[in-house]
Point group: C2
Chain length 130, copies 2
Amino acid sequence: MTVSTSFVDTVAWDDRGLAPAIAQDHRTGRILMVAWMNREALALTAQEQRAVYWSRSRNQLWRKGEESGHVQRVHEVRLDCDNDVIVLQVEQLGGIACHTGRESCFYQVLRDGEWQAVDPVLKNPEEIYR
Amino acid sequence: MTVSTSFVDTVAWDDRGLAPAIAQDHRTGRILMVAWMNREALALTAQEQRAVYWSRSRNQLWRKGEESGHVQRVHEVRLDCDNDVIVLQVEQLGGIACHTGRESCFYQVLRDGEWQAVDPVLKNPEEIYR
């Protein structure tokens, strides 16, 4: 699929054709996760108002929640001054964005020179992906 | 400078030795900017409790605010589940993170298929960098 939508052309895609996308909870402001988008992922995200990323490990489009049910409904899409980072304001269905079963992927805090996991696992990953 | 601090070793630095770092306003949750860190930048950020990035364009350490005065005091440092993205909770001195003179670099919103600049310029960049 070739995407020629002009707002997609504005993005300064890197040499792999990717840009990082940050998903932020639209109510609390909590940063939930960072993933990658390519042209098609951004176009589909805008069209479906649902977060669609590009999985670098699987080398394919990744409709967030397709396995887990943890879909991200998109309320707003923003782009930064360099046109190379995207921010999504999302509603996180199920309240879990991380594959570890936590609300946010950013559950490790630097304290006393160590990364400490401070947020609870809300659901066993084995129950999420089965 | 060789940085061997163990929390720095935990980060999954990319093949350039870099990781993206998101600066978020610690009070409002507004995402202010995304920049890059290398090992030394992260170590200095933790040590000085002030955001220090790695400038890819200038190929040198960048103490945010060194020219503009718009220093970021760091309240918390987090790492994601893949250990490859950092989030800083910061107090943005001067209330301006973006080189365009805006609060946040993410001032372009996708509306009606176009990126629209929706946030005000708080200070003329020529007055910031002189």
